[in-house]
C-alpha cells in the first residue's frame, strides 16, 4: 500500500558520497595514518605519516535519540570540529578535531548535556541493541530499557579504561538476534518460553499454511482443521519457542507476559585477534522480565563483569578468559547454576560434549 507520488522523482541515487563528510585533515591523510594512542578514556589521537593529528572524542549514546539530540551533537561539531562528526559501529558519537586544545572544552560541553565520554580501549563500550517494545512486534522484552538499566550499573566501566581488556555487550529482544548477540562478550537475549497460541479463525486467512508448517526447525507444526477451518497445531513438546512460525504467520503470537524473560550469554567475540571468532554460550537460561530496571539481569551481568575484571589477564577477552580457567570455574565464580538447559540438544549438539579426559579438579 504505497502513497501518492510526488514529482519529479529521483530514485536509486544511493547514499551521498562519503568524501564530502570527511574533516579536511582526514581527507588529506586518508589511507596515510601511522598509529593511534589514547590520551584518556574516550579520547584518541590518530597520527598520520605527514605528522598531522586528528583527535577523536567518543560519546555514549542511547541510540534511540530524537532529532533534538542529533541537533545538539551537530551544534557541538560546529563549535569544536569544523562541523564534522561521525557515529561508530556501536552507535557512539565521535567528535573529531585537529585541535588538541578543543578537547577539554568539548568534553565539558558534552558532559554538561548529560552525555558521557568514554568507551575506548579497555572499557565497556555502548551496548549494541535492537527495537524491543519500542517498535518490534516480535520482542520478548524492551532492550532500550534493559540497556539503560545495564549501562547505569556499568557506567564506571564506560568512562574508565580499567578492565583487563575490552568488553563488548549486546542485547536483542528475540531469537532473531538483530543485535550481535550471538558473538558478544556478554549478551542479553529476550526469550519466549511458551508455544504460540494459535488463532484458528485467522490462520487460513492471513497465513500460508505450507510455509508455516515448514518454518518450524523442529517440525512441531502440523496442518489441522478446527471447526471446519484449515489451521495448524503445534506439538508443545517439540516447540523450543524460536518464534519463526510467528514471523511467517501473524496468527501464531508467541509473546506471553507470564513466560517471556531474559537469558544471558557469554564469551563470544568477532575479532580475529589471538583466538578465532566465537559464538556466545549460555550462562543463565532464564531471568524474569522485570521492568523498568531488570535488577536480576543487571545483578547477574555485574557478577560476570566483576569476575572477569578480577581474574582475567591483559588482552584477554571474556571468552578467552573462560577458556583458560575452564567453564566449571566460571560457574563456580559467578555462582550461576549449571543445568540441563546449558547442554546443547539441537542439531550439532554432540559436537559440544566434552570428549577428552582433560579435566581440571
Amino acid at each position: 500500500m504505497a502513497t501518492q507520488p510526488s514529482a519529479p522523482r529521483k530514485t536509486d541515487i544511493g547514499p551521498p558520497h562519503y568524501e564530502q563528510f570527511l574533516h579536511p585533515v582526514i581527507k588529506k591523510n586518508y589511507g596515510q595514518w601511522k598509529y593511534h594512542d589514547y590520551l584518556k578514556p574516550g579520547v584518541m589521537v590518530h597520527v598520520a605519516e605527514s605528522g598531522d593529528k586528528i583527535y577523536s572524542v567518543r560519546v555514549g549514546s542511547p541510540r534511540l535519540i530524537s532529532v533534538d539530540v542529533i541537533r545538539m551533537f551537530a551544534d557541538l561539531a560546529d563549535k569544536y570540529c569544523d562541523g564534522y562528526l561521525r557515529f561508530t559501529s556501536r552507535n557512539n558519537v565521535e567528535l573529531m578535531t585537529d585541535k588538541e586544545k578543543n578537547i577539554d572544552p568539548l568534553i565539558k560541553d558534552i558532559q554538561a548535556q548529560g552525555y558521557p565520554v568514554g568507551g575506548t580501549g579497555n572499557s565497556i563500550s555502548n551496548i549494541i541493541h535492537t527495537q524491543g517494545w519500542v517498535h518490534c512486534h516480535s520482542a520478548a522484552t524492551d532492550v532500550s530499557g534493559l540497556v539503560k538499566a545495564t549501562m547505569d550499573e556499568l557506567y564506571e566501566y564506560f568512562v574508565d579504561m580499567k578492565l583487563p581488556y575490552k568488553l563488548k555487550l549486546a542485547a536483542a529482544c528475540c531469537l532473531n538476534m538483530c543485535g550481535a548477540v550471538h558473538c558478544s562478550d556478554i549478551a542479553i537475549l529476550g526469550i519466549h518460553r511458551r508455544p504460540p497460541k494459535i488463532k484458528d479463525e485467522q490462520v487460513s486467512r492471513v497465513c500460508e499454511i505450507p510455509t508455516t508448517v515448514s518454518s518450524c526447525p523442529t517440525a512441531a507444526i502440523r496442518p489441522t482443521t478446527v471447526e471446519g477451518k484449515q489451521t495448524v497445531k503445534v506439538d508443545d513438546d517439540r516447540c523450543m519457542f524460536c518464534a519463526n512460525c510467528y514471523t511467517v504467520c501473524p496468527a501464531m503470537p508467541i509473546a506471553d507476559a507470564l513466560n517471556d524473560g531474559i537469558s544471558l550469554w557469554v564469551g563470544g567475540k568477532v575479532s580475529n585477534a589471538r583466538s578465532e571468532p566465537m559464538f556466545t554460550k549460555l550462562a543463565v537460561p532464564f531471568l524474569p522480565n522485570n521492568p523498568p530496571r531488570w535488577p536480576e539481569v543487571t545483578d547477574a551481568i555485574k557478577k560476570i563483569v566483576e569476575a572477569y575484571a578480577g581474574d582475567a589477564h591483559n588482552y584477554e577477552r571474556l571468552g578467552e578468559w573462560i577458556e583458560r580457567i575452564g567453564w566449571p570455574k566460571f560457574f563456580d565464580m559467578t555462582g550461576f547454576e549449571f543445568t540441563k538447559y546449558h547442554i546443547d540438544d539441537f542439531r550439532h549438539a554432540a559436537e559440544t560434549f566434552a570428549r577428552s579426559a582433560q579435566i581440571k579438579f
Binding site: 500500500m1 504505497a2 502513497t3 510526488s6 536509486d12 541515487i13 544511493g14 547514499p15 558520497h17 562519503y18 563528510f21 595514518w33 598509529y35 593511534h36 594512542d37 555514549g60 549514546s61 541510540r63 534511540l64 535519540i65 530524537s66 532529532v67 539530540v69 541537533r71 551533537f73 551537530a74 560546529d78 564534522y84 561521525r86 559501529s89 558521557p116 549494541i128 535492537t130 524491543g132 517494545w133 512486534h137 516480535s138 520482542a139 520478548a140 532500550s144 538499566a149 547505569d152 557506567y155 564506560f158 538476534m177 550481535a180 550471538h182 526447525p217 524460536c242 517471556d260 568477532v270 575479532s271 580475529n272 585477534a273 589471538r274 559464538f279 521492568p291 523498568p292 530496571r293 588482552y315
Partner: protein
Amino acid sequence: MANHKLRKTPLLDDLQKGPWPSFVKDMKQIAVRKPMVNDLLGQLELSYKERVGHWKHGGLVGVIGYGGGVIGRYSDAPEQFPDVAHFHTIRVNQPSGWFYTSQALRDLCDIWEAHGSGMTNMHGSTGDCVFLGTTSEELEPIFAKLTEKDWDLGGSGSDVRTPSCCNGMARCEYACYDTMDVCYNITMEYQDELHRPAFPYKWKFKFSGCPNDCVASIARSDLSVIGTWRDDIRIDQAAVKAYADAGMDIRADVTRKCPTACMRYDGKEIHVNNKQCNRCMHCINAMPKALRPGKDTGATILIGGKAPIIEGALLSSVLVPFMKMDKADDYQEFKDLMERIWDFWDDHGVNRERIGECIERVGLGNFLEAIEVDPKPEHVKHPRTNPYIFYEEYFEDDGTDA
C-alpha cells in the same frame, strides 16, 4: 505548546534517573510537541506494566517503485494510542563509515521533524539511519525530500541490505583496503538489488579493513570482506625498544599471546616468522607504534554469516583467501564473483534460506565448483573426518566411466 495530554509513565520515569543518558527523558521532551511520541510512551508504559509488546505484525508499506526500505508497523491498541496506530520506520542509507557534516544531519532532522515522530535510531543494527515512526501518507513526501537532499532508502526484505563498513582508511592505520570506497561503490552498483527484493532471502554485505573486524562482518553478513596482507609485518625496532623502556612486558603481553607462536622477543628486538603468522592482528594491536600490517594488502572474502534462525547461527567461512581490492579496476574481480554467486543462488536457493544455509545444504565443495572457485585447504578448518565421500565416478565392469 502541546494540545495533547501528556501520558503518565511512572514505570518509565524510573529510567530518567541514573548516569547513562536516558531515552525516556529525551522522548518525554519531544513528546511535548509530538503526539506520536506521547502515545509511543503511553504504549511503552503499558508494555512495561503488562510485560508484553503491543505492536502488530508489520504489513507491506513502501514508496513507489521500491520493495524495501520501510517497515510497516501498527499498534494492537489503536483506540488507546491513536497516534501510533500507524508507526512505520524508514531506513535511510547511511554514508560510508557513518561520517556526516552537521549540515547533513540537520537536513535529515528537518525532514523527520516535518513528517515523522522525530525519533530515530542512529543507527540501526544493519547500519541504516533509522527514522522511527510515521504514517503511510508521509512516505512519499519524505522520500521526495530525502532524494532532493541526495539521500536514498536502505534495504529491507529479500534484497541486498544496506552495506556498511568500518571507518577504514579515513581514520585507521590498520586498513588494508579502502572499505569506505568499496562500500560506496558496491552500494551504487547494486541499487536495483537493494531497492527491489528479488532474492530468496536477505543479503548483507559488510566491509572491515582488517581482521579486527570492527563492523562484525564475519558474524553479521552474508558476504564479509575483511582486510589482510600477504607480505611481512612491518617492524620499527626503535619503537619496540620504546615500548620496552616504557615498561611494557613484551613477552607476556605480545609474543606469548601470539596464537601461532611465530614471534620471538630477544630482549631487544622482535622477530616474526611471517610464513607462520596468521594475520590475527594481536601483536599489531598491542604495539601500534612499532608494528604494522605489510604493504601487499587486500582482503579475505568470506561467505554465509548470520544469526541463529533457522539452523543455528553461522560465522562466515573463507571463500577467497586473498583478493586485491582493485579500485583502478572498479573492483571488477569482486563483482564478477558476486555475479557467479547470485547466479548460483538464483538456481539453488530456497525461500527464506540464507546463502550460508544454502551452501551447507548443497555442500561447500559443490558450491565452489558451481561458482568456479578452486577448492583449497584454506576453505576448511581441516579436511573431512568422516569417510562418507560421494565419489562422483566409478568404472563400469567394462572399464568405462559411469
